[in-house]
Symmetry: none
Subunit: 211 residues, 4 copies
Amino acid sequence: MTAVNKKLDPGQFFLQKLSMAKALQKRTLETRARLIAAAEAVIEESGYEAMRVEEVVLRAGTAKGTFFAHFKDKDALMELIIGARLDTYLDELEAAPDPKSVEALAQALMPLCAFMTSERYVFDLILRYSGAAAIEAIGPIAVNFGRQVDLFERWGTANRFRTDIGVDLQAEGIHAFMIQAMATHFCSLHNAQSINDRLVPYLKAWLAPNS
Amino acid sequence: MTAVNKKLDPGQFFLQKLSMAKALQKRTLETRARLIAAAEAVIEESGYEAMRVEEVVLRAGTAKGTFFAHFKDKDALMELIIGARLDTYLDELEAAPDPKSVEALAQALMPLCAFMTSERYVFDLILRYSGAAAIEAIGPIAVNFGRQVDLFERWGTANRFRTDIGVDLQAEGIHAFMIQAMATHFCSLHNAQSINDRLVPYLKAWLAPNS
Amino acid sequence: MTAVNKKLDPGQFFLQKLSMAKALQKRTLETRARLIAAAEAVIEESGYEAMRVEEVVLRAGTAKGTFFAHFKDKDALMELIIGARLDTYLDELEAAPDPKSVEALAQALMPLCAFMTSERYVFDLILRYSGAAAIEAIGPIAVNFGRQVDLFERWGTANRFRTDIGVDLQAEGIHAFMIQAMATHFCSLHNAQSINDRLVPYLKAWLAPNS
Amino acid sequence: MTAVNKKLDPGQFFLQKLSMAKALQKRTLETRARLIAAAEAVIEESGYEAMRVEEVVLRAGTAKGTFFAHFKDKDALMELIIGARLDTYLDELEAAPDPKSVEALAQALMPLCAFMTSERYVFDLILRYSGAAAIEAIGPIAVNFGRQVDLFERWGTANRFRTDIGVDLQAEGIHAFMIQAMATHFCSLHNAQSINDRLVPYLKAWLAPNS
DNA sequence: TATGAATGAGCGTTCATTCAT
DNA sequence: TATGAATGAACGCTCATTCAT
């Protein structure tokens, strides 16, 4: 910053460039963090669906234009935030010991399921963004879905629930039934039962057939 | 309603009422039919997502208000149209002989799957309405989903794919995997494979474990 | 309104249709008038340039959507209002007796010139819309400019200022010099002189050469 | 500026200062030239109205801030570029022999008129900046307009088109009619005629009355 | 039932300009 | 001088839905 006219060897030059880039990036990152924090605060108070760009910007103390300079649109931020929360659930699951039984497996998934079904809006948004429309469009939620299946593979590898099929197929099945159990949660005809009560029979039939 | 003060004996009065009711109902039904036809024409040309109420009423030659006198909201008409198409697929499946193998089962489902994944918008809408939000909210799509599971039960009963679980659970599993296979269709990472190619392994593992 | 089910002969039917159309149009016209009145009030208080759609809509007590249902954009309303004011000046000029001398002619034009140069914004907007870009784009300002030239022709016909050229050409010249005199008004190098003082020499040279 | 503490005798110091100043000025001028060239390239491709500062700095390889370090605002650069082009037309006119007839005069002005009416945006901007808003605000376009009138005076002096009015007034009239002819060019009702065809009658009536 | 003007609330955009580094 | 993220203040738009007639 001070040493403007000093001669720099290429390495120094590179470092200066880098630090400039970082300095700039730092400010950017701070603004971005402020926006995300503001959004999370709004969500905390009023829920996901009620989050308004106007409100977020107001709290973050930035201009609206800044919001759209950081996020393509409102949904992009929404994805980011929901993806991050999904990731914290995954982090915990990954850190925890592999479930030893189908019941334990279902039980382990409940916090994640509870979050995903906390709001109809959240569930719909997750489903909408769970598949990457294009390679470059792989967003946080699609990535997280990948992590989920990877984790289920790990669990399947550890437990060898079924030996007649690959762990990958097994994992995808767990995922399919998890979605199925959650989807029916929003259906008045089924939601007397808890998600867990719906998930366990599916998983037993899937992971432990003939038993 | 006001200027009908001509004297009538009760029988005549009743008959007139009846014919008025019929006339009215006829006109009402005609308007309704015109609206549906117009909507289908618009969809034919521009797809489901691009359908606008404005455009529909323009074609139908009615006012916008008339649209909402006939359908609770835009989604209600959408459900009606999509539900009707789903029903024609179900009609065909019900009329056809029960599939004898897993491969045949998957194959039989393909036309239905193709329609359901014809547009991301269609798939999302179907999922959203596949569960009845309330008893009185059981719409065409939720009903159709019920029919699907019923049909799968029939198939399961006829074939006894698995004997360790009930036909109802078996049917729900088929449905879950059908959804899973379709969902991945919108994911660029998987859609090199056809829906059928994704569905068959799922169903084999589900319906014929240990084989 | 009451006679809903009465039979109507075609003429009556037509009248009813017409009155319905009128009833609808009346409401529309009222809303439109409210919007225009609100805009004029805002302009009265803060000037043309400071007029904000938001403020207009607030005063008119309508939704923003209503504004854009009535006017293509803000400029369309601006044109309308400025065009209307130009028209009132033209009305007065047309009602007044034809000026008998060049000085009187210039003098007569001063109120119009004063309005046109009241704000830089106004003058620029008038110039921008003074030519119709397309036949269907003939707006109020372009029409008014036509009226101006027509009036100048009438004056020229009454006075025969010049006999060597047509009244139409004469009129266009008056117009050209009027614009020229106003344009220089915004130029700090010339605006010590009044518009009138600048216009008179031009018009003398144009309308009474060799005298 | 900071790390230049090596001892120098005054002469050397002066020389270094000079060479630094030159170097700096050179770099500055280069940046400025790059910006102007970039702007001209953008204009070449997409026209004047579509020119965006963003695009210009991208091409020039500078930051946005640099743009505004060199030009007060976007319009200042626009004026510069348009003024420069106007000047080349004036240079040619000044170098050419004085037109001997009204027709020749009009003809001589056509290239200039063609440029000024090449885009509505250009014409509007020229008009807006043709008068100096303040003494210190005399920009390239206002200066060029001065040159135009000066040239018309020279022509008028050489030809003595009219003897009853001063050459300055005569010149201003030519200018007024030139503007008038161009303004009608943007009006769909008149642009069947060429600018020249509209200008000649004006100028005949102005420069050669009673003939 | 039919009408269609009006609603409404928020999203996304625009892009020249500023300012701290 | 150079940088480029941030600003800002409207504008325009969307379009399903409502409601008085």
